[in-house]
Amino acid sequence: MAHLDDEQLSLLALGEDLGKDAAVHVIECRACAESLASLQRTVLVATSDPNTVQLQAPGSHNWAAIHATLRLSPSLAADPLSDAAGAGAGAKPDTSSETGTPTPLRPSSNKKQPGDRRGLWILGVAAGTAAGLVVGAWTAASILGPAEPPLTAPSTPAPTQTEPVAALLAEASLQPLASHTASGEAVVQSLADGSRQLVIRLPDEPQAGFREVWVGSSDLSMMVSLGVLGNQTGSFVLPSGLDLTQYPIVDISREPYDGDPAHSAESVARGVLTLRG
């Protein structure tokens, strides 16, 4: 038979049945088979089911670097990923760099049935609305305890290892307070564009609430909140007008989910910054 025309090939690519002759021809004719294959790939992508695709969230140091490089407003300093998660479920995702938590685009229980291709809105998921679900799933993972193992083995990189030319401005060792046991460290770095970031490492303890990072005056009468600390490490942009000699104390508090923005008065670790350079 004659070659199939583009209309026929398109319909075949969409899975329509055009009869035996067309089916046989497209097997025997190399040109038609190739055309069909390329159209089928397009259909396949357009109808692909992203439900099962796992995404990993970038560590919060990425936003810190973007924020610093572009000199964005201090009000946008918090990692948008942790921001959204916190607003939604009252729990903070792990913002440390070493755990990219697998992020299902949709809960697997919502998997479509085979043959059901009515899933257009899923794109919304991938492209936008669904991103609400992305963050939701991610948050759920952080509430439910230890995250699933990442798709690739984490290599525990320092949260700042990809920062452009970071110079050390100050550092502090963080000592546990009261009934707490975890100790860690705090580092203030100057980035290439002149902005500063505070990097905290402090192992998490299995307790209720979340941890918040503060800098404060020596007598703790003035405190500035810098954001939420995830499991192990986090980096926080220091407001450009903040004078570290006035705020030499780094304080990590444990906060209940009570909506009160003030310090809970329960500090888990604290340290005094020593200025360098």
Binding site: A46, V53, L55, L70, G124, A126, A131, V135
Partner: protein
């Protein structure tokens, strides 16, 4: 379902083009996991994926004046930038004969090849969704019924009350256009 297809808020597109920083944060919130995962699958290591993710959003913000909300949705535009950044990174690497090492790393993880294709498919689907938007109606409606409701051209013809020949011709042209968009996206002729 029609409404759901428009899940991405076009107001974000306009705000981004207008230079509102909040829109960049919003784009990051919604798309950085996909950008990062694409980079991680392509580059094979976290430090590279970190660099690429930062570069994508930095580059996007700095070139926001060249972004036209009417021409593309922000997700599709960002995916395009992501591909460029990844390609730049890969070619910089191949200059350093580093590519074998990346391949070696990936080869040790049998799942990562399939994962990479899956993530690519998600990215491609965002690209196609953008192109579908641009088809306009009735082409867009026709392709949605064909793709997502699995209707035959006969059924589409009666559903939309369009002549059979018109439906077939729209399907042919639209599918060809979608294919071309993917080819452009991947740099193949």
């Amino acid at each position: 379902m029609e409404a759901a297809a428009h899940g991405w808020d076009v107001a974000v597109d306009r705000a981004f083009a207008a230079g509102e920083e909040q829109a960049l944060a919003e784009a990051y919130r919604k798309l950085s996991p996909l950008v990062y995962t694409l980079a991680l699958r392509s580059l094979g290591e976290r430090a590279g994926a970190d660099d690429a993710t930062q570069e994508v959003f930095i580059r996007a913000w700095r070139s926001r004046t060249s972004y036209r909300p009417g021409a593309a949705r922000l997700p599709a535009w960002l995916i395009g930038i992501t591909r460029n950044v990844i390609n730049d990174s890969l070619s910089a690497r191949s200059r350093q004969y580093d590519v074998e090492r990346a391949a070696l790393r990936l080869a040790t993880d049998p799942a990562s090849d399939a994962d990479a294709k899956d993530v690519e498919a998600v990215a491609d689907r965002i690209t196609l969704e953008d192109e579908l938007e641009r088809l306009g109606d009735p082409q867009r409606a026709i392709m949605r019924l064909a793709f997502y409701e699995d209707l035959t051209h006969d059924q589409i013809s009666s559903r939309l009350q369009l002549p059979l020949g018109t439906v077939k011709s729209h399907i042919r042209r639209s599918l060809t256009r979608l294919r071309a968009r993917l080819e452009v996206e991947h740099g193949t002729p």
